[in-house]
């Protein structure tokens, strides 16, 4: 992927263009948050923050966050999970692919509407990991982990707004009215 100078940036991209540093630092922060020593009883409720931040950048800076970064993050997550190498990488790539496919549409929506569009994606990722784990014979799946997908969908609104602030994106006009 080449990093030529922006041809004709417009709107939000002009006011505060997403830089590689911003993307990487927020992704790293999200990964660190998931690596915190969370209580065992709450693991199944922990939303996949890494994936959410990745999707945010897939929507807002598809040239900087794509399948390659999704794959690398997935591999790192796999190692922390100690399950099968490639399981989360596959799920992350799939989610990023779907998000990039409909990127134009998602970019146009405001955050609450994005939530509705992304909820099946976030939930589907958890379901995919559980199903693939079952398919590769890793014993019984703990289906409570699906709740993490739902919680992730609920958290999309605050997270997207927080990332908007971090990235310095101007608040769209529609939110003022």
């Amino acid at each position: 992927m080449s990093l030529a100078k922006p041809l004709l940036p417009q709107g939000a991209a002009l006011a505060a263009p997403a830089t590689r540093a911003k993307v990487m630092s927020t992704l790293f922060a999200a990964l660190c948050l998931t690596l915190l020593p969370w209580a065992d009883g709450l693991r199944w409720l922990l939303p996949d923050l890494t994936l959410m931040v990745l999707l945010y950048w897939c929507i807002h800076a598809p040239r900087l966050a794509g399948l390659g970064i999704a794959f690398a993050l997935g591999l790192l997550t796999d190692v922390t999970h100690g399950l099968l190498l490639g399981l989360d990488a596959l799920a992350y790539c799939g989610a990023a692919f779907v998000a990039l496919m409909v990127q134009k549409r998602l970019e146009g929506f405001d955050v609450p509407r994005q939530t509705l569009q992304l909820a099946p994606l976030l939930l589907g990722k958890e379901a995919l990991v559980l199903t693939l784990g079952l398919a590769f014979g890793r014993g019984e799946a703990d289906w409570r982990y699906l709740a993490a997908g739902l919680l992730a969908a609920l958290l999309w609104l605050p997270l997207a707004m927080l990332l908007d602030r971090v990235a310095g994106r101007p608040v769209p006009e529609s939110e003022h009215s």
Binding site: M1, S2, L3, A4, K5, P6, L7, L8, P9, Q10, A13, P17, A18, C32, L35, L36, P37, W38, R43, W44, L46, A61, P62, R63, L64, G66, L67, A70, F71, G74, L75, L76, V79, T80, H81, G82, L83, L84, L85, G86, A89, L90, C93, G94, F97, L100, M101, K104, L130, L132, G133, F136, G137, R138, G139, E140, A141, D142, W143, R144
Partner: protein, 285 residues
């Protein structure tokens, strides 16, 4: 091509579906390699070493807060603990004397019968630093690894009984699969009559099961199960579980027995790693 930021003027890359297909293929290849052939230990070890310092740094504030909280214990509590520990030490000493005489007696008997000596297992105390956040497995991470001479296959015990087995050894940490993992099994013997069985995990922290039990097997509620030591992994004589319920065969020709693990499989912070039992070669005639 719309004017997106950092967009190249001329598109000279593969389309999105093609790239996705390639990544998908690569992921599936990794999955298959890892699931069937377990040849990716080096990749896993390398990435783990990369993440380990980050995890340590992130866990540090939590550990400090625990230390600070632990500092403010009342004097009475300390005294009570001290008394209890002293009492326990005295009891242990008496038990230890008994053990010494039994050990020497056992050695003598083994010599008389011309049996090989029992392997001596020097335990190494390690700390559980993390549980593996996965919906499938019962695994924990301990704070010792290859650098400290830990290898995969070493049994892990606590003060009461068997806890599990080291399944992956990274440079600085190691992964212990608990006895209650669905894929774990341990060869055991009933203390009462010496019947050999294999006890396996169910995925629940409080339940183990003996799956393919002979219909007429002599196993009762309350029987204690000890490792038999015939698999070359677990040394003989570690307490494993107590039988809670036996179930007569219903749709299958086999009976089932449910047991409760004796060791604190999901509970303690410190456990001990033993040397793996050596496979005793059959004696030459």
């Amino acid at each position: 091509m719309p004017h997106t930021p950092q967009a190249p003027l001329f598109v000279r890359e593969m389309g999105l579906p093609t790239r996705f297909a390639l990544y998908l293929l690569f992921c599936l290849l990794l999955l298959a390699l890892d699931a069937r052939y377990s040849t990716l230990a080096w990749l896993r070890g390398g990435l783990n070493t990369l993440l380990h310092p980050i995890q340590r740094v992130l866990a540090a504030p939590w550990e400090w807060s625990q230390d600070v909280a632990g500092f403010f214990i009342t004097h009475g509590e300390l005294k009570r603990d001290n008394d209890r520990l002293r009492e326990e030490r005295d009891r242990m000493r008496i038990a230890q004397q008994d053990r010494q005489t039994l050990l020497s007696e056992n050695n003598n008997l083994r010599q008389l019968l011309a049996l090989p000596a029992r392997p001596d297992a020097a335990p190494r105390v390690v700390e559980i630093v993390q549980t593996v956040p996965s919906p499938f497995s019962r695994k924990v991470i301990i704070n010792r690894g290859q650098a400290h001479g830990l290898e995969a296959g070493s049994p892990v015990v606590d003060a009461v009984g068997l806890v599990g087995q080291v399944t992956r050894s990274y440079p600085l940490t190691a992964e212990v699969t608990l006895l209650t993992d669905r894929d774990q099994g341990a060869p055991v013997q009933i203390l009462r009559n010496g019947l050999r069985l294999i006890v396996s995990g169910t995925g629940s922290d409080r339940l183990l099961e003996v799956r393919f039990l002979d219909m007429h097997a002599d196993i009762k509620e309350g029987d204690l199960l000890y490792t038999s030591g015939i698999d070359g992994t677990y040394p003989a004589g570690i307490p494993v579980a107590q039988v809670v319920k036996t179930e007569p065969p219903r749709n299958t020709p086999f009976a089932r027995a449910y047991c409760r693990p004796l060791g604190g499989v999901g509970r303690y912070r410190h456990v001990a790693v033993l040397q793996p039992a050596l496979k005793s070669a059959p004696d030459k005639p």
